[in-house]
Each structure stands twice: as C-alpha cells, then as structure tokens.
Symmetry: C2
Subunit: 494 residues, 2 copies
C-alpha cells in the first residue's frame, strides 16, 4: 500500500465529512427559514420565501447527489475507519445510494405534484369536496408508488420504501402485527374508558395558560439562553443548533392544549439537544427517525404531562397564574376519553386507532387494493369499526389531514409508534430508576432527562429505530406497555 493511497483515503474521508457538515448546515438554514415562515414572516413574504426554500433545497439536493460522493465512498476502506467514521460512511452510503435510484424527472414531478396536491387539498377541505381532490390524490398515489418502486429496485414492496424515508429499517409486516394487535385490544378499552374517564371541559383564560406554560417549561429546563417559545397555528419545533431550540404552541380559551402541546414539543427539542456533541454537524447529528422523535414528544406529553403526579405541578402553576384547580380534576381533564372524529384532538387512548386507520388505507392505496374514489367510504367504514363513530362529512373524515395531499405516504405510522415506544421506554426507565411518581410530583425531571440522554438521545442516527428500542429497553417493540399505560383510564389495573 502506497502512502499516496493512504492519503487518498484520508482525503476522501475528510471530503465526505466536510460535505456532510455542509449539508447539516444547509438543513439548519432550511429549518430556520421554515420556522421564520410559520412564526415571524409577514404574509407578504410568502412568494419570496417559497423561492428561497426552493433554492436551498435544489442546492442541498445537488450537493447530496454529486458523483464525487460516489468517488469518495469508493476510495474508502471501511475496515480502516474508526467506529464513528464507519457509521458516518455507512449512513452516507445508504442515503447516497437511495437518492441515486430516483430519476431526476421523477423527483421534480413529485415536488410539483406535492405542491399542487396541498393546494388542491386545501380547497377541497374548505368546500368539503372530495371529488375535487381525487385527481391530485390519484397522482400522488401513483407517484409515491413509482418512487417506492425505484427505491425497492425489485426487492421489497414499494410501501416498505416509503416507510424507510421516515423510519429506515421499519418493516410493513411488523406494523401490520403491531397495529393488528391494537385493533383487537383498544376498541373495547375505549368503550369502557369513555364511561370511566369521560371527557371534561376546563375553560382556562389564555393569559393564565401563557404564564403556566412558561413556568412549567422553565421547570424542565427551558431557559432564554438556548430556547424560544412562540405561537404557531400548528405547533412544531425547530432545532436550529444544539443550543438553539424553538418551541411553538397555541392557546385556546376552551382547553389546555397549550400545556400538553408545549411539553410535547419540548420532547422533540430535548431529543435534538441531547445528541452526543461529537455527532453535531455530521450526518448522524439528528434524531434517528420520525417514530423515535414522536416517542420523545409522546413521552413528555403522555407520561409526564398526563401523569397524576405531574398534575400537582401543573395545578400549582395554574394556581400561581391565578386559576386554582384541584390536581385530580386537572388530571381528569387532561386524560378524558371520547372516541371522536379528529386525529389531532384525540384523547391518549384512542389516538393510535386514528393512525391505524390511516395506515390500513394508505397501504391499500399504494398496493392498489383501494381505489382513490373509494377512499371516503373506506374511511367511514374504518371509523365505525375502530372508533364506533359516524363520519358526517369528508371534511371531518378523509380530508382532515394534509399528509396525503402533500404526498407523505408512510409518515402516519410514526405517530402511533411514538405512543408505543414512549410507553415501552417509560417502563424500562421506571424499572431501572424506580417509579417516577414522587419526583414528578415535585417537578423533578433531571433523572428522566439523563436516562433519555444515555439510552436514546446521544446516539443520534447511529442506531435505527428498532435496534435502538431493543438496546434501550432490552426487548423488541410491543403494545403491552402502551396497553398498561391506558388501562387505568378504562378503570382496569395497569
């Protein structure tokens, strides 16, 4: 082996790492521009922002797809890399090879179809007119199938590859099993829970909520040095840098969604902040998948914010802000169960059933077993079967979510997986650290943060979803922890 060769190898590694760093920086800029668009931008900026985001996306795509990356990858001898570099190269190779399988024309056509599909969906939902949306949806389904087929290269089924865009390594069959088990177990629990833990209203003035949200977030570590909290119509989180996390929430007089959603978003933010600093600005320095990300938000929403113990803290903060409420009443309000029409306002028990329906339907659409024209009827059937509710209109039915209009097939499952993973992580944590009840009652979350950092967060993308779960909890993903979590809502022992 000549020293020139060694140099070539080192050089290729350095160039690859530099490129990954550049792509991480561009991704952060994309997140910043998107955050600004949704939170700060005057409405008049929309057209220019669309151009700016498109320019950034084009550049990032070009830099991620370049022939030179293939040359660098080919010049590397993986066996000679250290552990970290091996993972960087492994993930870089995987993504580069996937991206290269998609013809440029297909990528461009999807991009156009998704933009048009969103617009079409928006109008159709406003007018409760599914037929007006059907052609755009049909186009999105066909393009998604074609995209999945390109990625599969004749190996797996296309839907599998669509899942992989959000959750690499997740198998359609595993989802069928998990979700199939939920379909058996959850509906009877839901019917019991609607009697045992009925939905309640608690009208808390918005200014009280403002104060309580700020103070609760401060308690879990949200300071002005490294976080922002703003209002957005659809709450989300932006991680612009390891010490620049931007949460959003929304406030309604009629409910306490602001408390739940801000702790939900905090879970996303904390995940990104606790990734190992050595991974920052590499291709491993972000959350590993949509489902693990959602597990982090659901953990703080379901297992902290909705716990009987943390109700003490939330009641204290509400009282401090001028709204006295008994912790038990507050907890009952945050956990009331009522099978209902809309996913985003569903209770913690029935929420996964909304997702199971969407998984069944999108899988059938992609596999060609369900025609777009039959979607509204299939939706109504599914809602009756899974949740026992009648769907009065498509606007409150299959038109309620933007995802399919935007071409996002394979995304929905992560929402339900998040619930399952959160419950399993929580049990693993409690079995190791002991019950969290006493500490949560006092608002002490340091050990929770530390456990999550060690078992989940620090790995970034070095571990994919399923290996991460197995390593963190000692077993593969199941539904039992989640069933034990919701059992008390139905008046059963966990």
């Amino acid at each position: 082996m000549s020293s020139a060769n060694t140099l070539g190898r080192v050089d290729s590694l350095q160039r690859l790492r530099d490129r990954m760093t550049e792509l991480a920086d561009l991704a952060a800029l994309d997140m910043l521009a998107t955050w600004d668009q949704l939170v700060m931008m005057p409405a008049g900026g929309a057209e220019a922002r669309a151009h700016q985001l498109a320019a950034l996306a084009r550049l990032a795509h070009e830099r991620a797809m370049g022939e030179e990356i293939g040359e660098w990858l080919a010049a590397l001898d993986d066996a000679r890399l250290d552990d970290l570099d091996r993972d960087i190269v492994r993930v870089a190779r995987r993504e580069w090879e996937r991206a290269r399988r998609v013809p440029a024309e297909l990528a461009a056509e999807r991009s156009r179809a998704h933009a048009e599909g969103q617009e079409s969906w928006r109008r159709a939902r406003a007018n409760d007119d599914f037929a007006a949306f059907a052609p755009a949806l049909q186009r999105n389904v066909e393009l998604a199938r074609e995209y999945g087929e390109c990625l599969a290269e004749g190996g797996s089924r296309p839907y599998q590859e669509l899942l992989a865009e959000y959750d690499f390594g997740l198998e359609t069959e595993a989802l069928r099993e998990l979700f199939g088990a939920l379909v058996v177990a959850l509906p009877p629990l839901a019917q019991q829970a609607r009697a045992h833990s009925p939905r309640r209203e608690l009208a808390v003035p918005v200014d009280v909520q403002h104060t309580a949200v700020r103070n609760t977030l401060r308690l879990v570590g949200v300071d002005e040095q490294g976080w922002r909290l703003d209002v957005a119509p659809h709450p989300f989180t932006a991680w612009i840098g390891p010490s620049d996390t931007r949460l959003t929430t929304r406030y309604n007089d009629g409910n306490l969604e602001s408390l739940l959603s801000s702790l939900h978003e905090y879970g996303h933010g904390l995940y990104e902040r606790q990734i190992d600093p050595t991974l920052v600005r590499t291709n491993l320095g972000r959350g590993t998948s949509m489902s693990i990300h959602e597990s982090q938000s659901k953990l703080w929403e379901n297992h902290v914010a909705r716990s009987p113990a943390f109700a003490d803290v939330l009641a204290f903060e509400l009282e401090g802000a001028g709204f006295p409420v008994a912790p038990a009443e507050l907890h009952a309000t945050l956990t009331g169960v009522e099978p209902s029409l809309i996913r985003v306002s569903a209770d913690p028990l029935t929420y996964p059933l909304h997702i199971v329906l969407r998984f069944e339907l999108e899988l059938a659409l992609i596999e060609g077993e369900l025609a777009v024209v039959d979607l509204p009827a299939a939706w109504r059937d599914g809602m009756r079967r899974l949740l026992g509710v009648e769907v009065p209109s498509d606007a409150l039915g299959c038109l309620q979510d933007i995802h399919w209009g935007a071409g996002s097939f394979g995304y929905f499952p992560s929402y339900a997986l998040g619930c399952l993973i959160a419950a399993q992580l929580w049990e693993a944590m409690e079995s190791e650290l002991g019950p969290r009840e006493e500490e949560l009652r006092r608002g002490e979350v340091g050990p929770i943060q530390a456990w999550l950092a060690e078992r989940v967060h620090r790995h970034g993308r070095r571990l994919d979803t399923m290996p991460l779960i197995t390593q963190a909890t000692g077993r593969s993903l199941g539904i039992e922890p989640f069933l034990r979590y919701v059992a008390p809502l139905a008046g059963r022992a966990p």
Copy 2:
C-alpha cells in the same frame, strides 16, 4: 450564423440569469439568518449560526466565481441582448471579473483577519487599549491594500478599488473635493448653530415612544402584511423579499432616537421595496450602492422626520400616546446642534465632519501616509480641527467604530455622501413637486414615495451612484443643497 449558435447563446443567457436568481435567493437567506441572529436568536445559537452563515457564504462565493460563468459570458453577444439583459450581463461580467482577480488565499486570509480584528477591537474598546488593537488593525490595513491592488491590476490606486466595493464608480478625487469643501463650510456653521440651535433633552417614556413609532410608521405605509418592526441594539433593516421588510429600532428613555432611527430605517426599506418588479431576483434587484442607500435613509431622517412641518405629525402621535409636546419644541429637540465625540449620536449638521475625518485617516492608512501607531494622535488632531472637541480617550476616539476592525475600508464615505445626496434629491423633488411643507404637516408622503420610486428606487442597480444622481437631479453631486438644508440651524437663510 447557425441556429445551434443561437441556441447556445440563448442557453448561456438563461443559465446566467438562473445563476443570478440563485445568488439573489442565497443573499436573501443570508439576510434572514443575519436578521434572526441579531433580533430573535437565543444567545446559545451563536456558534451554530456562525457555521451556517459561513456555509452559505462559501456556497454563494463558489457559485458566483465558477468558471462556467466565464463561459456563459464569453458565449454571449451583447449587441443582441435587450436593454434589461444587457444590464444584467454588464453587471454580472463586472462582478465576475473583479472577483476573479482576488486569489482565493487572500480572500480566505481577509475573512479570518476580519473576524479576529473584530474580536480584537471589541476587547480593545472595552479596555480603552489601542495598543492591543494595533497589530490586528495593521494586518487589516495591509490586507485591504493588497486586496485593492489586486482589483486595480496596476490601474487605479488601491483605495479607489476599496470604495468600489461599496460604491462602484466613485472616485477618490471626487470625494476629496466634496469633503474638502465641507471642511471649509461646516465648522463655522457648527459653531454658530451650537448657539442658535442648542442641544435639548426631552425625556419621553419608552412605552409612549413605542406607540408613537408604530403609529408614525403606519402613517407612511408600514403595515403588518409586509413589514415587521423589532428592537435591536444597533438598528438596521433587512429586506428578505420585495414584500417582506424588517425594520429595527431601539428605545431609550432619555431621547427620541427611536423616532429618528425608525424613519431612517424605513428609508432603507422603502428603497428596496420600490425597485422595479422586473428586476426582482436578478443581479440588479437591490439598492445600487451604499451611498444611495444611505441617502434614502437620510432623506427620511433629515428631510422628513427633522422637518418643522413633520414635527406636527410627530407631536400629534406623541400626544396621542400620552405625551403632549409643542411641535416647535419637538423640532428643536430633534435638530439641536452640539459638536461631540461620537459619530452615531451626532447632530445632522456636524455628522458629515465625523465622516470626513474617517475618510482622511483611512485614505492615509491605505496609501501608507499614516502609520497605525500614529492613528490616535491623528484622530485627536482631526477632532480638534474639524469639530473643536478634545478627545479624552481612544474608546471615545478612534476605537468607537467597528468598521476598521472588521476590515471595512472605503465604507465610511457613504454615510456623508448619503447626507449630501439626500439634500440634493430633496431639492430636486421640491423644485418639481413644489414645497412639501403643507403635505408633510398632514403626514402625506405619497408624492414623496412616488417621486423616489420613479427617480431613484425603480432603477435598482441599473444605474451606478453618480449617473443616478445626475439623472435624478439634473446635475452632478455638490454640497450646496446640504449647506442650504443646515443653514437654518445656524440661523442663516437656506
């Protein structure tokens, strides 16, 4: 001529235009990231933001410098282009050729030296320790000279080329003449004005200022649809898109800087908004130079906000916000003259003298006629000669501005030119539209906006500074309009 050739030509033009569009989008993203950094970003985001901005700058530089641009330019037959394309190509060629003259190592070294120079300057100013700053300043002077020499290619003098970075076509000799005339005319006026229009204090509560600033800006067209107003320690304006303009200002209990600075920044913002829509996202779709930009801010600051007529409007807004004040008293407060140490808080009459001093000194530094070690003494001499004030410390003297620490030589003149150009434009406008007094008293600025749009703004970068002034005012730039503007402050007829 074969049709293949024609196609190649059309294709080259389209590629060039596409590249210019991309660079405009990247520049907007840079401005957004910078605005966010200064206005919204939590402090913890600083390190990541520096990386993000650097990544963007590297990419933009690479895309602006590519060999392929030279090929496209060579393939074009300028005679066959329409007027707009000819200007796009002319400016693209000029910038590409200038950029190519600078070796990459020099560009990188300057970038490092400027970052270090700013840090060094910050510490030196805090400790009033010029000697600690001298080595970094020395380095910046040498690199600026070398940079200017590269650009000059043995033609003009290096300082001329530094000027051209901010104001293409501006000649050092023209500056010498204009500023030389100011040195003769202004100091005696200043001495009379400090007696005739003495500096006054007016302590307006910050919340009153908030309301008055918002309402005054609304009056001149700042709506929520296309503008933002935020607070920044050093006010500036960001134009993220033609309908997304972000002003900043700052509030102090002790003075009315917020009113002046918000109208000053409004002038910058209006300029960018009124550029011809056909130029948007080309390389011509922004303000043509630093001095014209500064003339637009100075026009609104000096000729609107500081006018006796507009004092009626400002007094009305202050009274509406709970602070009654006589318009005459308000006007006197906004125009009081007092030769003083600090440029950024100087009155409208003495302000240009602060700039003349900096021009003389930076020119001497670059030309090698003044050694860095002699700068503090030269500064003190200059302040005595031009403003009649004694400089008690370098922190209040030659260390007060960041520009030289950041390597910005040739930038200062635009501040004084802005004052001169604003006065000349204002006279040209009034000689055409008639005196503005009556309308300004009622807060009517529509005709002013329209005149500026037609004569200045719409051209974008199609006209450089001096041709633009000649075309807009019918004469070349002189100091007389500015002298007539300040004469009343000294108790003289305009």
